[in-house]
Amino acid sequence: MAEKMTGAEIVIKALRDQGVEHIFGYPGGAVLPIYDAIFQQDELEHILVRHEQGATHMAEGYARSTGKVGVVLVTSGPGATNAVTGLTDALLDSIPMVCLTGQVPTPLIGSDAFQECDTVGITRNCTKHNYLVKNIEDLAQTIHEAFYIAQSGRPGPVVIDIPKDVQFALGTYYKPTSQTDHQSYRPQMEGDLESITEAVELMLKAKRPVFYTGGGVINAGPKASELLRELVELTGFPVTSTLMGLGAFPATDEKWLGMLGMHGTYEANLAMHDCDLMINIGARFDDRITGRIDAFSPNSTKIHVDIDPSSINKNVVVELPIVGDCEQVLEEMVRIWRTKSNAPRSEEIAPWLRKIDEWKSVDCLRYESSREAIKPQFAIERLAEAVKDRDVYITTEVGQHQMWAAQYFPFNQPNRFMTSGGLGTMGYGLPAAVGVQVAHRDALVIDIAGEASVQMTMQEFSTAVQFRLPIKVFILNNEYMGMVRQWQELLHGSRYSQSYSESIPDFVKLAEALGGKGIRVDDPNKLDEAIAQMLDFEGPVLFDCRVTKQENCLPMIPSGKAHNEMILPDTADIGNIIDEKGKSLV
């Protein structure tokens, strides 16, 4: 006999049965019954945020660092609309999330009631799926299905809108059941064996191969990263990765080319351009990666492994598509490779590796060091040095500091780098760090931030203080929206329209006002000591690192150019790279 309970109790029970331990949320009129149910139990820990956008990014950080579903609970109306940015962010970066939103009672829906908005309408295009639960008998199964949809196939955010009367109503609780027989949703997990075999055949013939890996490898779970390492070892092929895929392959390995794309390394981008075989595993040919599509890797055969069939041939037409889960496909690739070859192709691809070494020797990440001022790249290098023996999780905001983090901080394990890739959401990093710290209480969690981005969700520092989450916010403060300024230098005659950060708060006093610690440093000779001080402090820290103001993030593929037309660090004047005709097209 199934148990009868209220809708609010069903929500809590369903979350528990889905293995949820933490939820990020903010109460309000339309979710009060659920908050009442939260009050009467102690299995689920609720993290009270300061703004609903913060809750969604926390859930993203939590999900990305654990592989579990991040759960958000917000009220109707403004609660739901504030969550939209984080939902869209999770959709673009394929992060599993379930967001429960309160709704006005069913009889009032459509009446423009207080704090009413059309949540399912608003979130339809920024979620993987969404539901409005009008019948209490559907509630438990809807929640279970939502969790299945959020984390299976290509992961993504799912919204469940629950009217207040449904939260009060008595209904039946149904336990989770296997969802794999879902009527219409059946993600394809297993790649076609014939295609995988063909892929291995191509790999056995390649003279200039490159692995191009993405977030899909990380989403597929830690085993996929291990298999990738094994396959690289077996084949001897070089590897590059997108921003979202960093950490799946160790940055310390000699086969590692660094990140590719707009701010990727010279060697990674030239390898992509000149390769004869590109093996894309779990990446989606995003426009920040490809540069000009019509000049993208013109002479290569392309293999594309992706769990989402709609990613295939969307931006770049490939010769050999394989729809499937990265872990499963990698496992098959490793197995089939072993049946056909027992040695890496080091000899056959030796000229290619020599070529890559030549490109590496360009040293595209070099920068002019300074004794007077802190260079942002230097700050990240020193930070990386200081934490190299620690279990460290890095989040970032969006902008120059994000790219510098990707370039100068070595990631050696998956699930250690949380960043907003697809949507490029400034303000992601601080709340994401809070979410990561909730999941990993004893780990070191650092948000590498910019002074402009961090002000977008600054208030969540207070959440960190409340829940004793000792996040470190490492702000590269150059007093500019650095990436905007760089683009203005590049394309708009250095007219820095609205990109100077006026009235920056005193971050040290701000940290203290919020109940944390503030540290400021502007002398490169005192940087190491200040970083040590930050790491030693047991609570949350705002670290105001004053860096050189107009540093450009290089190398860079300028807009509209191909991989082999990068701007390298010696280019003094980036303002003259794009001609007048080109500038008018922006």
Binding site: I293, G560, V586
Partner: protein
């Protein structure tokens, strides 16, 4: 350097799709649930796909399934995206490109109101008979015709009615089904 490279200076890389545009009829089997039409229509508008015609109605009541017929105009690459993006939607069971799968049967229904007197009325009725349009309403000054057929036939009929006193037309949009014994 690649000779066809041009600096565009845009933050985005724009290329023009010069491939041929085709008209295709898609049949989409979906769960008949609230908001399903908004999901389908929203996908087309969000991704910039065209809808020439769209019809939706429940077809298998006991399974709660509806059949949506969409006519779209796109390049082959975009057509493949339309199909794949539709399949990504959770309540979508199947998507069939009826045009690609062979000659499908395509029909549309229209109600055509024509007002007139004297010789025009006689001519109107004569033409309606030739097009096998049924009179479903009549007054001393008007007829309403029901006509079914391929869109081309309906358009032709409507064009002929214009000089005879066409008042207004409603059309169902296209429904289509594949030929032969196989179902979707």
């Amino acid at each position: 350097m690649n000779p066809h490279l041009r600096a565009s200076g845009s933050a985005y890389f724009l290329t023009t799709d010069t491939s041929k545009i085709e008209r295709h009829t898609l049949s989409v089997l979906v769960d008949n649930e609230p908001g399903i039409l908004a999901r389908i229509a929203g996908l087309f508008s969000a991704r910039g796909f065209n809808i020439d015609s769209l019809t939706v109605s429940e077809t298998e009541h006991e399974k709660g399934l509806s059949r949506i017929t969409v006519v779209t105009v796109a390049s082959p690459k975009v057509l493949s995206q339309i199909k794949l993006q539709l399949e990504r939607l959770i309540p979508v069971h199947k998507v069939h490109d009826l045009t690609a799968e062979g000659k499908a049967l395509e029909r549309e229904l229209a109600l055509v109101k024509v007002a007139g007197t004297g010789e025009n009325r006689v001519e109107t009725l004569r033409l309606a008979e030739a097009f096998r349009a049924q009179v479903v309403d009549a007054s001393t000054e008007s007829f309403v015709f029901e006509i079914t057929g391929k869109p081309g036939k309906i358009e032709q009929f409507i064009a002929l009615m214009v000089p005879l006193g066409l008042v207004e037309v409603v059309r169902t949009g296209l429904v289509a089904i594949s030929r032969g014994p196989e179902g979707m």
